[in-house]
């Protein structure tokens, strides 16, 4: 008991701060990534050959751009786009500076996950709605997104967990967070206790998120 109190006295504040930083980075970049990724996923599905907005050019360009970004490992992307990050948010360090690369890393991933979720929707239902004279934008929300919402939730859970992993590298540009704490103190300064505790915290976080995602997805699924 004493040992725990001692540890908390020494590291409690840092751990708390790092956890908050991780939540901030994940929360903000997830929100922005969904705002960009979901429409991109919808666009990917709709511009496919034979679909409502069949457009070879848009589909191919989008496909290639997403593949290119997804080919670059996050740690490289982080440095590769430094000038762009500085241009967008005025700085390339701190939580603010790490949001841009996190979004660029996650949004295309979410777009892909959304694409595969939306593609699962029965073509027949979309057709039934077309046959009733329903507008395409209504079909997108009331059929495509609605019917795949369970898969969307599962996809977002996967994306969020990937995002938590990516934030660990954010420390390299001063973004902080749990991963950074484990690396700086646990690895560089041989404070293995800190490393263990952060790893355990990350495990709990990921487990909790996955369970929550599974639960929510199961609740939304009606078949």
């Amino acid at each position: 008991m004493n040992a725990i109190n001692e540890f908390l006295d020494a590291w409690g504040a840092d751990l708390w701060e790092s956890t908050i930083q991780t939540f901030q980075m994940v929360g903000i970049s997830l929100a922005i990534s969904i705002l960009i990724g979901l429409p991109l996923g919808i666009l990917l599905v709709l511009t496919r050959p034979g679909k409502a907005l069949d457009n070879k050019f848009v589909y191919n360009v989008l496909n290639i751009v997403i593949n290119v970004i997804r080919s670059v490992p996050f740690i490289i992307l982080l440095f590769f786009i430094l000038p762009f990050t500085k241009f967008i948010v005025g700085t390339s360090i701190g939580v603010k500076g790490v949001i841009v690369p996190l979004v660029i890393y996650t949004a295309p991933y979410i777009a892909r996950l959304m694409e595969s979720a939306l593609l699962e929707v029965d073509r027949g239902v979309v057709e039934a709605y077309e046959a009733m004279g329903i507008k395409t934008r209504h079909i997108i929300w009331n059929v495509l997104v609605r019917e795949s919402r369970s898969s969307i939730v599962l996809g977002l859970t996967i994306a969020t967990i990937g995002l938590i992993g990516a934030t660990a590298m954010a420390g390299l540009v001063g973004g902080g967070g749990l991963g950074d704490l484990a690396y700086r103190y646990g690895h560089l300064r041989y404070e293995v206790d800190v490393m263990y505790v952060t790893v355990i915290l990350l495990i709990i976080l990921v487990q909790g998120l996955q369970s929550l995602g599974n639960f929510w997805a199961a609740k939304l699924k009606k078949d």
């Binding site: 029965d122 027949g124 239902v125 057709e127 039934a128 709605y129 077309e130 046959a131 009733m132 004279g133 329903i134 507008k135 209504h138 009331n142 059929v143 609605r146 019917e147 919402r149 369970s150 939304l220 699924k221 009606k222 078949d223």
Partner: protein
């Protein structure tokens, strides 16, 4: 009411092009139930999807109530489509929505106010007999119930025409009967014209006023259901009719019987099915009819019977007897070995 003229449709795939529809014309009158029957790949599904332009024909015109849909702007086409109901083999309901919402959501999206939506959902759920299931999800329903929801959804837009794309093909025989009864009721009580496609002859037999037989993207035979049933011309049509009334006798028996007379199928329709025509024949002519098999059924709302009879006796007498029967409105068709073999191939 519904008029398709010179519709052609070609699908171009990796294996070359397929002429799904070759110059198909078809017209359905107000209040009719019109059935299109064919084997899979005959083009019937493409045909029905051309009616509301889910499939755009390469050429030809699609007129619904005199308006050519192929010339409409996307907005006007949506408006026209809302007056054409459609039901499908796969039901195509939202899995994530209750029975009530499955009907209510499309109504809301077409701009009806909440009160009107509610009254329509209740009205049409009542008609299809599913009022007590309105809070169930499709996964909790049987196939027949799902199709009822789909029918209610289609009817709730108060269409003039209902298109049925193999609506009973995924259902068991009892459920098929119940859904066919419902379609008949809709046709009679709401006066909705129905165009349906099917590969099951009993669907045609039970509810259709008119029938078209399709093969290889063409309509090969078309007419009133009773005419098609009593005297099918094309071999495919005969095959469909035979799928309902199978009078298969073994080849060797047929050969044996043919030596001593003539084997023939007699079709009785409406009033003629009540007449003892066959009994009269034995009195008038020197022949011995021997009934090999027979059945009687109902074509929509008239009786239709068929007998497979062996006429034993002199050829001249048999011919006279057959002529007499034909005068009595009985349709007679001879059965020979050759024909049977043709049918099998």
């Amino acid at each position: 009411m519904l008029e398709l003229k010179n519709i052609t449709k070609t699908f171009t795939g990796k294996q070359g092009s397929i002429h799904a529809l070759k110059d198909v014309s078809l017209s359905v009158n107000q209040g009719e139930i019109y059935g299109v029957i064919g084997y899979s790949g005959a083009g019937k599904s493409t045909l029905i999807r051309c009616v509301n332009l889910l499939e755009k024909p390469d050429s030809g015109s699609v007129k619904v109530n005199g308006v050519d849909l192929t010339t409409l702007t996307p907005g006007k086409l949506r408006e026209a489509r809302s007056h054409i109901g459609m039901i499908f083999q796969g039901f195509n309901l939202l899995k994530t929505a209750t029975v009530y919402d499955n009907i209510a959501i499309p109504l809301k999206l077409t701009g009806l106010d909440k009160k009107e939506v509610k009254s329509r959902v209740n009205k049409y759920l009542e008609i299809v007999g599913l009022s007590e299931k309105q809070n169930a999800y499709p996964a909790e329903l049987s196939g027949g119930q799902k199709q009822r929801v789909a029918i209610a959804r289609a009817l709730s837009h108060e269409p003039e025409v209902l298109l049925s794309d193999e609506a009973t093909s995924a259902l068991d025989p009892d459920t098929t009967e119940a859904i066919l009864d419902l379609l008949l009721k809709i046709n009679k009580e709401l006066g909705i014209t129905i165009l349906l496609i099917t590969h099951e002859m009993n669907v045609i037999q039970r509810i259709c006023d008119c029938v078209a037989v399709m093969e290889n993207g063409e309509i090969i035979e078309e007419g009133r259901t009773k005419d098609i049933f009593t005297s099918p011309q094309h071999s495919t049509t005969k095959r469909f009719v035979n799928s309902l009334f199978s009078h298969d006798i073994p080849d060797d028996l047929l050969e044996e019987l043919s030596e001593s007379g003539q084997v023939a199928t007699l079709s009785f329709f409406g009033e003629s099915s009540g007449d003892p025509a066959l009994a009269l024949v034995t009195k008038k002519y020197d022949i011995f009819p021997n009934i090999l098999s027979g059945n009687i059924t109902r074509l929509k709302d008239e009786a239709f019977g068929q007998l497979l009879v062996h006429f034993k006796g002199d050829t001249a007498e048999i011919n006279k007897a057959i002529q007499f029967l034909q005068e009595k409105q009985v349709h007679v068709e001879g059965v020979t070995l050759n024909e049977r073999h043709q049918r099998i191939s």
